[in-house]
């Protein structure tokens, strides 16, 4: 079910302000790609353009193309809703729906769209998704309890289960561990390693060790100064980026000399 993403010369604007400039990148199917870089370098903004979530912010627009297995997300007539059901997203802070039970949170993508689903199918989907997010054993006895009652790490895995349940091709993660404690972070990282068997995973992270641990390839973004657009500086195998980067800026960043 996983698909590759190819981005050609993408510029992202918020109203007049150009936030990201000229990014071209090829993301392989069934791999984990990490975006790293200093705060404000546009990596999260760029991630959001991969499933058109930037359009939620007023004035957000792009130039260029993003191809999902060759289909341009920004071609005329493409419905952002369709794009988002094929490219899921997990956010920085866990955000389960507070009005819904654990079970309903997992089924949210199906139910909110008003699709009919048989109870047996729903049960199967809930179990499969929660197992896929390594959460099943912890919550199987309390599926009807509110999702917001779980711990932070569990909530984040619930959000991943919710994303998996929509059966996307790609999962985008925007700093998924930055609000979590080290043990929960480890659980999510293990999960990411398993997810790449079935999905294309793109993760934005501030934590270079995390990028090194979980990703196959790493993209380093940087910004020339405040008010300037963010740029993709270097994109290569993770091992290469951390041990033998081609650019001086990358080396400075990964060795902790700035940022």
């Amino acid at each position: 079910m996983s698909k590759r993403i190819d981005v050609n010369d993408l510029n992202v604007y918020y109203s007049k302000f150009r936030a990201v400039e000229g990014v071209s990148i090829n993301i392989e199917a069934k791999s984990v790609t990490a975006f790293i870089g200093p705060s404000g370098c546009g990596k999260s903004t760029f991630l959001r353009t991969l499933n058109r979530m930037h359009e939620v912010i007023p004035g957000g627009r792009v130039e260029g193309e993003v191809l999902l297995d060759g289909d341009n997300l920004y071609a005329p007539g493409v419905d952002p809703v369709t794009v988002r059901s094929q490219i899921g997203m997990v956010f920085q802070r866990p955000n389960p729906f507070p009005t819904m039970s654990i079970r309903d949170n997992v089924l949210a993508g199906v139910k909110l769209n008003g699709k009919k689903i048989a109870k047996s199918d729903a049960d199967a989907l809930v179990e499969k998704s929660l197992r896929g997010a390594n959460l099943w054993n912890e919550v199987k006895d309390r599926l009807d309890k509110p999702g917001a009652g779980l711990s932070g790490g569990q909530q984040q895995r619930l959000c991943i289960a919710r994303t998996i349940a929509v059966k996307p091709d790609v999962i985008l993660m925007d700093e998924p561990c930055s609000a979590l404690d080290p043990i929960s972070t480890l659980a999510i990282e293990d999960l990411i390693n398993e997810l790449k068997n079935d999905y294309t995973v793109v993760i934005v992270t501030h934590n270079m060790q995390q990028a090194a641990r979980v990703s196959d390839k790493t993209a380093f973004f940087n910004i020339a100064g405040t008010g300037k657009p963010g740029k993709l500086i270097e994109y290569n195998d993770t091992a290469t980026i951390f041990s033998n980067p081609a650019e001086q800026a990358t080396e400075d960043y990964v060795s902790g000399r700035f940022g």
């Binding site: 769209n113 008003g114 689903i117």
Partner: protein
């Protein structure tokens, strides 16, 4: 279940849903705008005969201005006295709840004061008519005997207590919760740092309030008072039931004076033709007065918001 055909069909119907829903939301907003313009327009149309009519046919026989002027003044007097009474008490109550009352009971006490706002105006009117007015008669007697040389306390005092001062006191009770709840909110927003800085310098609680809380809250208090004024100007029942009406007189403790809202309520049920137009014109005047007052209040709040946002 999730074949592409199903997906695209669902997408098509969903898109229409989005359009319908946003259209309905927009329509509701526009409906409000239309309604408000309709308010002004219909009142104007129905009031027009008043302005084209022969002045002699207007109540009082001297034209609309001579008719409306005394009751505008009566309205303003009643509202002004109400504010003079309600403002210091309202601010005091707000301070009590925000800074003096023990933390645990401050919330419930605030709720008790909010109850004042929940009581329907007709019940205040009935209370003013049956309880407050008779209770104030001895006070009015005393005022006319001892302070009768001041025109506003000129005797002989009303024997029923149904005077504009009584009506103003009832109005004061009604606007008190407005002033209190808004001021209380502002007081609670006072930056804790300023308060603690004052206390750390050895200020007493009252000095802390005068140096940190009140300066911060001044615009909020002013707008709260203005909103209270808007309410007092437009309030009908308290005056219609409590005041025994008459011409414009300076004395506050004699039968007399009238307000626009009460004039309409008392006369509308039997009015027709030109009299109806007159009352609607009076309503239009009241609408304009309260509009100006409320707009000033909102402007002060808006400016204050920008100011506190910048901090």
């Amino acid at each position: 279940m999730t074949s592409t055909a199903v997906k695209s069909r669902a997408a098509a119907s969903g898109r229409a849903g989005d359009k319908i829903f946003s259209g309905a939301a927009l329509g509701a907003g526009v409906l409000i705008l239309i309604t408000l313009f309709a308010v002004a327009l219909f009142l104007l149309i129905q009031a027009l005969p008043t302005f084209s009519a022969d002045p002699a046919e207007i109540t009082g026989g001297e034209g609309f201005f001579a008719y409306i002027f005394p009751i505008i003044i009566g309205t303003v007097i009643a509202a002004a006295i109400a504010l003079v009474i309600a403002t210091p008490i309202g601010i005091g109550v707000a301070l009590f709840i925000s800074h003096f009352a023990p933390r645990q009971i401050a919330g419930p006490l605030g709720y008790v004061i909010d109850l004042l706002a929940a009581i329907p105006s007709v019940i205040y009117g009935a209370w003013g008519y049956m309880v407050l007015a008779p209770a104030l008669v001895p006070g009015y007697e005393w005022l006319s005997q001892n302070l009768g040389f001041i025109p506003i306390f000129e005797g002989p005092a009303s024997q029923t207590g149904k005077t504009i001062l009584t009506a103003s006191i009832v109005l004061a009770v009604m606007v008190l919760p407005i002033i209190t709840s808004l001021s209380r909110e502002i007081f609670l927003q006072t930056p804790k740092l300023h308060e603690e800085a004052a206390l750390a310098l050895g200020a007493t609680r009252w000095e802390m309030i005068t140096t940190a809380v009140l300066p911060f809250a001044r615009p909020g208090i002013i707008s709260a008072v203005m909103l209270g004024l808007g309410r007092a100007l437009g309030e009908t029942m308290a005056v219609a039931l409590v005041l025994s009406t008459g011409g414009l007189i300076p004395s506050l403790i004699k039968t007399g004076n009238q307000t626009i809202a009460a004039e309409i309520a008392l006369n509308f049920p039997e009015a027709f033709g030109l009299r109806l137009a007159e009352l609607i014109a009076a309503g239009l005047v009241l609408f304009l007065i309260t509009l100006v007052v409320n707009m000033i209040a909102r402007a002060i709040i808006a400016r204050h918001k920008e100011f506190s946002g910048a901090n």
